[in-house]
Symmetry: C2
Subunit: 148 residues, 2 copies
DNA sequence: TCAACACCTAGAGTCAACTCTAGGTGTTAT
DNA sequence: ATAACACCTAGAGTTGACTCTAGGTGTTGA
């Protein structure tokens, strides 16, 4: 079973431009072409696209994904490199989630503050309400940095 | 108390290029310049930079940050727009954290799998071990999509 | 047979967010 | 008074990841 580029566009949601671009960048080294140069994607190629999507979602750049694919093709001699890629990624994702948690707190504070400001029709009044001053103190080391 | 651009570079970690770029893009509409054109940043400007950093961290583009600053300068008539910006951001951050949680699962699975593969010296053996097949089934709807 | 259609390549264009260059001004230490 | 230094502007260049254009090929239904 093989698929035309149009089929793969429908299956993946990627554009045909993007699929050709990925190939040019070495992300799909196995895609076959028929006698007249038309691509015929295999199920294996589709699985690679799923993996590429995951690696992209985890924040890898295209050249890093290409590196991973090259390692994969070199076989078991590159297991250690691939393990260390996933370890690093996991650590980076942990940091990213911690970062987002901090940002989320700040944005939630702003949302609450502005909800109150809309209610009373004035930002300064809301900002100076005791409960918002306490909330700010609780959430931030240096609360004055957060009044813009 | 005012600060030269060099002082602000040290305080914020942003480059002087970036600070001038932000100003050109309308993110720092209040920075004063002395008679010979040299920037003198105020504490107020530094607080804006803190806010800009937060908005950038939350994923806003520079033109969206400029919009926010413009709304701020228009005063209480734009409270509703600003509230809705923060609401949207909070929702986007929630989605982003959910997305990262899913990605994290996949990457952690890969890390475990490769740790085992390194231990036994062969990827296929690790992949076919009962405990990894079960783990894969538990983690993913379509486990075969995840063998690359 | 001929128009519509899906596909092809090479290479140019776009966008965001910087980052740097060239050429100049103003201030300060020796 | 001159060299070093920090600063200035306008505008060009960079990077990553696409996205599109121009010009062409191959297949298929009326």
């Amino acid at each position: 079973m093989t698929y035309s580029i149009g089929d793969v566009v429908k299956k993946t949601g990627l554009s045909a431009y993007t699929l050709r671009y990925y190939e040019k960048e070495g992300l799909l080294p196995f895609v076959k072409k028929n006698a007249s140069g038309v691509r015929a994607y295999s199920d294996e190629d589709l699985r690679w696209l799923t993996m590429i999507e995951c690696l992209k979602d985890s924040g890898l750049q295209i050249k890093e994904i290409r590196q991973y694919i090259e390692w994969f093709n070199e076989g078991d001699s590159t297991l250690a490199q691939r393990l260390s890629l996933f370890e690093n990624r996991r650590k980076i994702l942990e940091k990213e989630m911690a970062r987002l948690t901090v940002v989320m707190n700040k944005i939630r504070y702003k949302e609450l503050l502005y909800r109150e400001a809309v209610r009373v029709g004035n930002l300064d009044i809301a900002t100076n309400e005791r409960r918002f001053m306490q909330l700010k103190k609780k959430l931030f080391e240096s609360p004055d940095d957060f009044d813009k």
